[in-house]
Amino acid sequence: MFAYYLQLGLRSLRRNPALTALMVIAIGFGVAASMTTYAVFRAVSGDPIPWKSDQLFVPQIDSWGPAQGRQAGDLPDALSYTDAMALMRAHVGHRQTAIYPVGLSLIPPGQTAKPIAAHGYATYTDFFSMFDVPFQYGSSWPVSDDTGRGNAVVITRKLNQRLFGGADSVGKVINLDGSDYRVSGVIRDWNPKPRFFDVANGSGFGGEADFYMPFTRAIDLQIGTGGNNNCTKVAAAGWDGWLHSSCVWIAYWVELPTAAAVTRYRNYLKGYAADQRKSGRFDWTPAVRLSDVPQWLNLQHVVPPETRVSMLISLGFLVVCLVNTIGLLLAKFMRRAPEIGVRRALGASRREIYKQFLLEAAAVGLVGGVLGLLLTGVGMLGVGLVFEADVARLAHMNLSLVMLTVLVAVVATLLAALYPTWRAASVQPAWQLKSN
């Protein structure tokens, strides 16, 4: 019976090609618009480190105080040098690191090569184990380089390819801004999307970094931040004046593997804040906050509002297309009321009518899905026009998106067909036979 119904369905679809084409086009466009914007949304809203995102935390401290005309709960999104160093020294978490972006110039070995711009992070050795950074050669620098301001550097596969042709370069020396650094490790391609540990600077979807160097060394060499530096007031001139100012520019991350550790850290932060008031540094008790990765990405509005708004509008578009399909299917099915009457009179049950018409709708959905797939492909090419290049690059077709596109098209069409099919199955055979 299945094959027969399919044949009947196809014949019926061919009988009004314009109506059928209209349904297929409506479903195709609706599905394609939704899938394209969904692909972008999926790309930017993913969890960058799913196996550990509930164990990595960002502490915030209100080092600016209530007098700056800000709302309650609106804490600075980075730490001042004073606070970051106090937290590092206390060492209350399982692992912790302070991070800031640096932009240096790199002089490649050889006389003729032009200097290149290199972007990296100043950080502590815990960074690599906290974030499960995969190494191709060597490893991160020893703790002694953190405390002793060592000249170690970890470079990325990309930079290793450029400087050393991809060979094992551990122990070799590179020159950044006129200072020599010894390579302690080369990391494999690793660029979490979004780059959760540095979302306060830029969109979080930029290209990979080139190198990582000890934080203490960068401070020693007076390398300023390559990212945002937000100050309320600057008390004194010079490098030390800046370090001890209220300027916030350091990202801080701590790994807390258990609920008990989280509680302990939260209490520590509150205690630290209270102590700062007692010691006279602040004349208010600074509010503190501890956020894990998803909370932090949410707080920092990492998903661009454009992606949400466009996904919503596209979903609304799909709904209109479905309402349209309901109407057209209704017209199509009811036109065949006499035929249904005859089939019912000859003994076909309602169930059979349901089967026949839902199958016909599924065929429409399937063709609509295929069209939707083609249009989604076109949409993917077009996302570069609509979203930031860094974000658009992330959206791509893969098997799950292909399956989802076809599935959404078929399921949506079947849902749209429910009411028209019910009407078709409720046709009174006697009434139809009589009126003819």
Binding site: A18, L19, L22, I25, A26, F29, A33, A67, G69, G103, S105, I107, K114, P115, I116, A117, D177, G178, S179, Q222, G224, K233, V234, A237, G238, W239, W242, P304, P305, E306, R308, V309, S310, L312, I313, S314, G316, F317, V319, V320, C321, V323, N324, I326, G327, L328, L330, A331, K332, M334, R335, L385, V386, F387, E388, A389, Y419, R423, N436
Partner: protein, 407 residues
């Protein structure tokens, strides 16, 4: 035209009527909001920057190796002399940032030293006596910087305390709404500065900042850091040539520098395109969705009405046989569509406003102007009339003979 018989007839097609009305309502809600988003984005991206954009080029320069901050001053002076001598170059200067570039300094301004809340927030542009002529800014009051106003400033050792500043008119009006700004003093951070000039307009480096897009301040400092921006104004017709020759001339003069491959040398057109990429993209996306949506809604109306006409051929034949003219039949279907359309539009207005209110709370959107809703409603009614025209004309051509046929 009698409406009562139409309403009675519609009662027999409840499902179809409701479906068309709902489709019109949803379309209206989406199209109104989409058009409103387009309007907002286009307003945003068509704001003038105040600059002579067609002739400007920006070069991002980073010095290599460790140098004393003081040394950067002479390196920059040599570079500027090289650039200004280059054929096709009208003028050049060095700065920390340019409008729309996305990164820069901002500070707050106070009228009194002990004021707790700042009077205004402003972007800070490091400038010299060549800035106005390079960018093509229009001085509307006061004077430009003189060469002896310009001081070097080390980012690591000095604090920003300019004796004189130039502000934009937007900022001047905000600080001194009733009096002349030139000659007045303001506190920039903790130091007193005198306003010596007002320029007509200069946008900040950031797009969509809450404190205004044109509140900018020019300070007479040469910022001594390892990285700087050179801004070049070319002579007419020369941007492409200077774009290639300027970096070459800089490297020939001193090799120990980095000009990034990406965004290292850009025309102001590119900077503008990057700054508004997401605004333009949203406008295009919303435009495409509107067009396709309207097309699908119109096609849906054509489809369903054609079906109704097909269903009612016999009744139409009877009416024609009883003396109804073609015009009567045509206006019957047009009126029917208008009634359904009005029902849909009423529902749609409520939906459009509801959707907008929800987006206001959720996505920091602005309130929808009622004109959009009204214009959208009229447009959809016209769309419905246009869509129904073809099937209605076909109905009007049904011959009275149909009344006598049995099927």
């Amino acid at each position: 035209m009698q409406i009562k018989p139409i309403l009675t007839a519609l009662r027999h097609h409840k499902a179809g009527t409701v479906l068309i009305a709902v489709q019109i309502a949803l379309t209206l809600a989406i199209v109104c909001n989409a058009l409103f988003i387009i309007h907002q984005r286009v307003t945003q991206l068509s704001q003038p920057s105040g600059l002579d954009e067609a002739h400007l080029i920006r070069i991002q320069n980073q010095w290599v190796g460790k140098a004393d901050d003081k040394a950067y001053g002479s390196l920059m002076a040599t570079d500027l002399a090289t650039l200004r001598k280059l054929p096709g170059v009208a003028d050049a200067y060095a700065t920390n940032s340019v409008p729309l570039s996305g990164g820069g300094w901002s500070m707050s301004l106070r009228l009194k030293a002990d004021q707790s809340a700042p009077s205004a927030q402003t972007a800070i542009y490091f400038s010299d006596d060549h800035t106005l002529s390079t960018l093509g800014l229009k001085l509307v009051a006061g004077r430009n910087f003189r060469a002896d106003d310009i001081r070097p400033m080390s980012a690591k050792e000095d604090l920003l305390h300019p004796a004189v500043i130039i502000v934009t008119r937007a900022l001047a009006d905000k600080l001194f709404p009733t009096s002349r700004a030139v000659g007045q003093t303001v506190y920039l951070a903790n130091h007193l500065s005198t306003i010596i000039g007002v320029v007509e307009r200069m946008q900040t480096p950031w797009v969509g900042m809450s404190w205004g897009s044109a509140a900018s301040t020019l300070v007479p400092f040469r910022l001594l850091t390892g990285g700087t921006n050179y801004v070049i104004r070319t002579q007419p017709g020369q941007p492409d040539r200077v774009r290639r020759s300027a970096p070459d001339a800089l490297f020939a003069q001193n090799r120990m520098r980095v000009i990034p491959d990406q965004h290292g040398v850009e025309t102001f057109r590119q900077i503008r395109a990057d700054a508004y990429a997401s605004d333009r993209g949203m406008a295009i996306l919303m435009g495409v969705i509107c067009v396709v949506l309207l097309a699908i809604t119109a096609a849906g109306i054509v489809g369903l009405t054609s079906f109704w006409v097909g269903q009612r051929r016999k009744q139409i034949g009877v009416r024609r046989a009883l003396g109804a003219t073609r015009g009567d039949i045509l206006s019957y279907f047009l009126t029917e569509n208008l009634l359904i359309g009005m029902g849909g539009v009423l529902l749609g207005i409520a939906l459009a406003i509801g959707l907008n209110l929800w987006m206001v709370t959720r996505f920091e959107m602005q309130h929808l102007s009622l004109w959009y809703v009204l214009a959208g409603a009229v447009a959809l009614l016209l769309l419905g009339q246009g869509a129904v025209l073809a099937p209605a004309l076909r109905a009007s051509r049904v011959s009275p003979v149909e009344a006598t046929r049995s099927v």
